[in-house]
Symmetry: C2
């Protein structure tokens, strides 16, 4: 039995008409003599509206109850899509996470899938053409309802594709993966192929195409992910092991609202550095663009998202409370701009081309990995930086 896992994002199921159009799209796919398992997100702005409602009720965040609340969104879209399919004569059933047995850890709002045997799905596929599974959500062994974090429906889809040994297709209102966000930069080019590592760098850098956990799972199990447009037949992009085309630089991503944290004149103490990043990580904060320079004293610089500033400041004050003579600065209003490409590994001169392109932009921080170069610039220089890089690397 050939099985295809498809995932439709929130804008693809935003209203009754779109849900009916998705049903028609599914009916066409069934003609390929495959059975479909379809993962859906919540309709349009549902999740945002539910979060707004929660804030009206309480200022405190109660992660367990937020997950109870938010998971209703996908149950609504899943049942409606199953109805639309039945309406056009396709045998279909919707399943929530508990019914689909998507077992996760108990970390509310950021649970990880532990186990997905898909036994019931396999059984039900015998007598149904398409099963609709609620994305984004899971269930613990104790029957607690969890969510996989914003964008987690991608991860639900890839995990199901692994469990069912199926193809994986992810549909949204964007026709694939672009060198940079096509909504901001109309000249952005669509990539036909991108490797897992490139995609991971892209999505962890804020390029909102795929949930990064979904790419990690696809990489681990060697699942090729096709990303295409829900409502057009335009060819999309493939996320896979090898980038057949291997351009040096595949993409550019931009992350706004960055705060640069700079600690200078600290005592030379590797233990201290470790303490700082451990403490900050324990607070659940991602630090990024870390630069540590030992000179006469120790200088540490890293970036965080602006809204976490007070959190980080609190944590640092605690660690450094007995120390004297050092300086600490928080500078907000920055954008992080990165170029990513598996080809960088084997191609020299990328860094020099990068600096040459940006010679007129004041760079506050630059960090590099094997396949990525990132720079931090004041937001007012963002446009200029993006244009210069797009031109230099032909993105």
């Amino acid at each position: 039995m050939k099985i295809i896992v498809q995932k439709y994002g929130g804008s693809s199921v935003a209203d009754a008409e779109k849900i009916k159009a998705v049903a028609v799209k599914i009916s066409k796919k069934l003609k390929e003599k495959a059975k479909l398992v379809v993962v859906v997100s919540a309709m349009g702005k549902t999740t945002d509206n539910l979060i707004k409602l929660a804030k009206e009720v309480s200022n405190k965040s109660v992660p367990r109850e937020l997950d109870m609340l938010l998971t209703t969104g996908e149950q609504v879209s899943a049942s409606l899509l199953a109805m639309a399919l039945n309406d056009i004569g396709i045998k279909s059933k919707s399943l929530n996470a508990f019914q689909a047995e998507i077992m996760t850890t108990g970390d509310y709002m950021q649970a990880r899938i532990k186990n997905l045997k898909a036994k019931r799905i396999k059984d039900l596929l015998k007598e149904n053409d398409a099963l609709i599974v609620t994305g984004f959500q899971g269930i613990t062994e104790d029957g607690e309802i969890t969510t996989l974090g914003r964008g987690g429906s991608d991860t639900s889809a890839v995990a199901l594709a692994v469990a069912l040994n199926a193809k994986c297709e992810i549909y949204s209102d964007v026709a694939g993966i672009y060198t940079t966000d096509p909504r901001l930069h109309p000249a952005a080019k669509k990539l036909k192929y991108i490797t897992y590592d490139e995609m991971l760098e892209m999505s962890s850098l804020g390029a909102k195409v795929l949930h990064s956990r979904s790419v990690e799972i696809a990489k681990k199990f060697g699942i090729t992910i096709y990303c295409g447009s829900t409502f057009s037949d335009e060819e999309g992009s493939y996320v896979m092991k090898n980038n057949i085309e291997q351009p040096i630089v595949s993409g550019l991503s931009v992350m706004d609202h960055q705060t640069q944290v700079t600690l200078s004149n600290l005592p030379m103490d590797n233990n201290l550095v470790q303490q700082i990043f451990e403490k900050v990580a324990r607070e659940g904060l991602n630090v990024d663009m870390i630069s540590v320079i030992s000179n006469s004293g120790l200088n540490i610089s890293f970036t965080i998202v602006e809204e976490k500033k007070s959190h980080v400041a609190k944590a640092l004050t605690l660690i450094l409370k007995d120390m004297k003579g050092f300086n600490i600065h928080y500078n907000s209003g920055y954008s992080k701009i990165s170029i990513v490409g598996i080809g960088m590994k084997s191609s020299s001169g990328v860094a020099s081309k990068f600096f040459k392109a940006l010679e007129k932009v004041p760079l506050s921080l630059v960090t590099t990995s094997e396949i990525k170069i990132s720079c931090l610039v004041e937001e007012k220089f963002k446009e200029k930086t993006v244009k210069a890089l797009v031109t230099a690397f032909d993105l």
Copy 2:
């Protein structure tokens, strides 16, 4: 451990402000040194809006998917109420039907509770002050999601009260049970006590106060139900075994949009009568006010709700296709008006008083039970009939 089961209807949790007010009401109740299990309906018009959405997607009714869809409504209100309680420092968790283990039959849209051990609720009550349980819904042994029918949250509450050996309090925007609908007849009187049987007659007659299945369960297990107002401290009504006050007639109920079906001149054949009602019942239709008179031929008259007319006509045409010489009439635009009272059993003269009060109203059909007299009148006589009965029986 003293446990109280409370149920709040949709209008009591219609928005964030009301949910917060319910949380405060619960916090006051907790001062009685009790633990609370709170059953909630969906917020305000949520269920109607979801049904509307389903109709936009498909004209066909798919009961399984409708239940998947509608059960999200209570999960939203339950999680929001749990958040509001946590916000004011009350330890609280929400549970959906699967988590609360409310086991039902597999009859979608009209499931019946089979088993409610409430083991998990008892465990969770040890470390929580209030548990919020989604009303209206259940789960089958196969993990299928079901609903108990419109108004089913009352039944969830009473069943939980039975399982937990608890008091049962049902709150809504009406301060108790009235002799007739106070929204239509401002002179309606609130009853302090009403028996299960009276309440059953009232609710099956369309007096929208309690889901009739909830009263059946309360009767079976001897649970007293208190019905009160969510947002006022006005004393409500008790549904219990004995009506301490025992008025002869406790209430009056009105059901609009009735169609009278009359079959005349049928052959005298009890088997045929049985066939007719069996077939109609199998279509899931409630017939009411049945009157069968054998004279020279057989005459059958009964009422159905107007919207089921074409359904019934189809069923009858099929049964009677080989017969000749009979007549069949469908007359719509009727109201059914009933008076109910446990006191009728032991009090003579109620029927004569009834007919005397209505001597100027053309009655199309009259049926009686031990504690009820119902009449069918054209809708234009409804007002007159209600006034006459309210006056005659001091309702």
